[in-house]
Amino acid sequence: MRFNLAKLTSQERRFRPLTWDVIIIVLLVVLLITGSLINPAFLTAFNFSLMLPNIGEILLIAMPMTLLIIAGEIDLSVASIVGLSGVIFGLTYQNGLNVWIAALLGVIVGVLCGAVNGILVARIGLGSLAVTIATLALYRGFATAAMGNKSVTDFPESWTNFGYSTIGDTFLPQTYPIIILFVLIFGVLTHLSIFGRRTFAIGQNVEAARFAAISVLNHKIVLFMLTGAMSGVAGVIYVLRISTAQYDNAMGLELSVIATALLGGVSIFGGVGTIWGVAAAAVLFGSLEALFNLQAISPNIFTIVTGSLLIGSVMIPLLLGRINFMRIERARMSKSEEGQL
């Protein structure tokens, strides 16, 4: 339930419903505190160094996915793009290309995949859900056809170190400066730039956005290319982290990415969402998994909790919204009674 805040009076504005991105940050803080109370090892540097790499790629792709969902589209092919760009990276490197150029090629393949998605959705006018289910099979098929059952593992050591080692003695994996940089870039892009405002405008009301002279089709293509590019980056990082390029890298990752975005308070109907909510959701996922590992709770329970949180992320704001609606009604009624007196 969405409220038109402009229509509320200043007094009523204190009834603004709690949005899910705020709730998720609160949940994260609560989890960190209770986790460290339950198990002193939870908030240690070592534990973080184990936890953070797992959520790196998910976070990288979840951010452009957030923009895409805000604009009212979705991309299910991201995991296949991760696989394909990793395969291209591995194959071109194996065939004697410079490792930098090979990595760049991996990212470029990601951009191309995204562009194909974008053109099919925006130019030809096909539904993004159906298109990206198709390209999910298509891109994974290309990766399989290119790589077969083989794999590439002999990457230079300095590069694979980059994939899984930490910076010096700190808990931060070497990939994290890049990931944090991207979080900042996407934060600015989404919430402080014209590009972000246009994305929200498209998600809120496509017609209105069109009348406001926003080039909706091109904007959507750019969003798909952005998602493809970040999937390409994630593909290269994924290969380096596990030191292996093979066709089934990151199989099934798309649902984790979308779950992270939705858990971060992005509305599946478009027009609503924040980058900090999504970042918090990714860290929440990671810390929850780490805590479960520490406490030797079966990962199956983690899967169940993930699903429940996902349903909670749509159910709780709805209930809060209803409660809020009643409170506003009551406030208005008491006010009109005062007016009569």
Binding site: L76, L120, I124, G125, L126, G127, L129, A130, V131, I133, A134, T135, L136, A137, L138, Y139, R140, G141, F142, T144, A145, G148, M251, G252, L255, I258, A259, L262, I268, F269, S298, P299, N300, I301, F302, T303, I304, V305, T306, G307, S308, L309, L310, I311, S313, V314, M315, L318
Partner: protein
């Protein structure tokens, strides 16, 4: 597709729309026959007796799931938890019938009940609380699989433990047609009757075409949508029992990550992912086409690696054709409307 076919106002339109719907299913059938004939000409073993019944047996599961998912998609919803429901039903059914020493019929009954409960949970959350189906069923996808893992606890049931009648059922045939595929046909027949000739089914088309309007004209959106989800879950449960029969082995990862293949079959069958358009027959044909194509690729000796890419391409072509057809009917209807305006000033 953002533009919908406007409401049909004259017999002329009805005739035209009927033609269109017909052309869609007959189109798939045509492709199906073309692919089969072409492949048989190149490799005669493709459609020989054994090959055909094998093909139908392989289609039974995806076909069953496609028939289940179709009403949900027509009502503008989606069920991503369908593969988890199938896997969980397969394991739970195996657990119960092995424990109790039950046979085939109770197995299908148990599977259907497990699926129906899962479908009812989805349906209540989506139709009752009006939560978005994509998010809810993504959630239940995880929850059901998690429960499955936890419950199974690395156990598995193999052919020796499962009742022999159930394992043999996959080999049984009626007039050369596998009995499991006959079951799917029976379910599809009920589905066709329900979606085509009952108020209950027609309402789902209305809901899918325009949810707000359906609400306003007083259609019982809750009960219709709930039933669609229960139907989908039930068929997923039955497909789980088929899994037991066909593969004769089950563990907690049964049918993992197969949900999108079912969606692919349904969309290839001409069911519009945005609701309101499609038929059960089409979806079943879509599932068969998907299987025939895989079989044809194997028979033609195309490297297995290319199969997935070709699947994706097929889906793209299918939705492209959908788009083209709906565009064409839109322009037709607009033209007829314009002509009408000229006639009656």
């Amino acid at each position: 597709m953002s533009q919908k076919i406007p409401s049909l106002q004259s017999d002329n339109f009805k005739l035209k729309s009927k033609e269109l719907v017909r052309s869609r299913e007959s189109g798939i059938l045509l492709v199906l026959i073309l692919v089969s004939v072409a492949t048989t000409l190149i490799n005669p073993r493709f459609i020989s007796g054994y090959g055909l019944s094998d093909l139908l047996l392989n289609t039974a599961m995806i076909g069953c799931l496609a028939v289940g998912l179709t009403p949900v998609v027509i009502a503008r919803h989606i069920d991503l938890s369908i593969a988890s429901a199938t896997g969980f039903s397969a394991f739970l059914t195996a657990h119960i019938i092995v424990g109790q020493g039950w046979g085939v019929i109770p197995a299908f009954f148990v599977g259907a009940c497990v699926g129906a409960v899962i479908g009812a949970v989805n349906g209540v959350l989506i139709a009752g609380l009006r939560l978005p189906s994509l998010v809810v069923t993504l959630g239940t996808l995880y929850i059901i699989r998690g429960i499955d893992y936890q419950f199974a606890n690395n156990k598995q049931f193999t052919a020796e433990k499962l009742p022999t009648e159930l394992v043999d059922l996959a080999q049984d045939k009626i007039f050369g047609v596998p009995i499991l595929f006959c079951l799917v046909l029976l379910l599809a027949l009920f589905g066709v009757w329900w979606m085509k000739f009952t108020r209950f089914g027609r309402d789902l088309y209305t809901i899918g075409s325009n949810p707000q309007a359906a609400e306003i004209v007083g259609i019982k959106v809750f009960s219709r949508t709930l039933f669609a989800f229960v139907w989908c879950g039930t068929l997923a449960g039955i497909a789980g029992v088929m899994y037991l029969s066909i593969y004769a082995i089950v563990d907690s990862s049964a049918f993992l990550n197969q949900e999108l293949i079912v969606v692919t079959a349904v969309v290839i069958g001409g069911v519009n992912i945005f609701g309101g358009v499609g038929t059960i027959v089409g979806a079943l044909l879509g599932a068969v086409l998907l299987r025939v194509l895989i079989g044809a690729l194997v028979a033609l000796g195309v490297a297995q690696f290319w199969q997935q890419a070709i699947n994706g391409l097929l889906l793209l072509i299918a939705i492209g054709i959908d788009r083209f057809l709906s565009r064409r009917s839109e322009t037709k209807i607009e033209r007829i409307r314009a002509e009408k305006k000229v006639q009656t000033p």
